[in-house]
Amino acid sequence: MKLFDSLFEKRTRQLAQCSSRRGLLKSLGGLLVGGAAIPLLPVARAAAAEGAARPLEEGDPNSCDYWRYCAVDGFLCGCCGGSMNTCPPGTEMSPITWIGTCHNPVDGRHYVISYNDCCGKSSCGACLCVRDEGDRPPYRPDKANDISWCLGTRSAAYHCTTAVLVGVAFEE
């Protein structure tokens, strides 16, 4: 036991003589600050680039007052076996769609939303949502949501509507 005591005492004294407490603080501090800054740079930039078109989310995607549904006129696919981005099984997403912008209250930005209808089955009947913001009369057909957008699909039977995020709106 005595051998251990003397060995450790010797090593501790040696260490104390060869290093300073400030030196330890300096290197430890350098490590903490440097370590925090260096890996953050590229990661933070990558995250910022990715987040450019990714909105901060809040709210229930199966509820009509969810922000992406600002111009919907139809049944929400999330209540029909699909989601806000996907069609329910047995239906086909129309490649032809009407597009508008919605304001996201969480991050305060406007996003371009594509309302792709899901087609091929009769009306879903669940979660009817009629908000119509930005809806225009049929003489502006590209901005009218009263028409069935089941165009370019094998069947023209309307089932439900998705709200696919296309990008961030351009603001001057």
Binding site: P95, I96, I99, V112, S114, D142, A169, F170
Partner: protein
């Protein structure tokens, strides 16, 4: 000398930011007014004409260059003349690919403003005629 370089650098950065804004605005206008039917990559769907790799063919004749402005979707769009010209030029540069003629002259707001006053009432037959004329001139 150094402040001069600094000023030049700032000026260049300013120009680049404006050009970048123009591209972003044109892309946004494409999303808002065209993409719903012509699809995000210009492939078209069903009866909607394909822009990708095709739209530049029209620029081989004066009637074709005018046609792209006079089609109802362009001529009667809610965009002003400058932004419509910017959008049409963006569509050509983005989607025409190899179909763009070497001597193509980009649209100006003034040119677009004059042409959109004569929107086409009949499109499909006239379109076929323009493409046939271009094909004949090539052979």
């Amino acid at each position: 000398m150094r402040p001069l370089f600094f000023t030049l650098g700032l000026m260049l950065a300013g120009t680049a930011a404006t050009a970048d804004d123009d591209v972003r605005r044109a892309h946004y206008n494409y999303q808002m007014f065209c993409q719903g039917c012509h699809t995000p990559d210009g492939s078209g769907a069903g009866d909607v004409p394909r822009l990708k790799g095709q739209v530049g063919v029209f620029l081989n004749s004066q009637a074709g260059q005018e046609f792209l402005v006079r089609v109802p979707g362009a001529a009667t769009s809610a965009l002003d003349n400058e932004q419509l010209a910017e959008l049409l030029n963006w569509i050509v540069r983005e989607f025409a690919g190899a179909s763009i003629p070497a001597n193509w002259r980009p649209y100006s707001g003034r040119e677009v403003g004059a042409l959109r006053k004569q929107p086409l009432k009949e499109v499909i037959r006239y379109r076929g005629q323009i493409l046939a004329d271009i094909a004949r001139a090539r052979h």
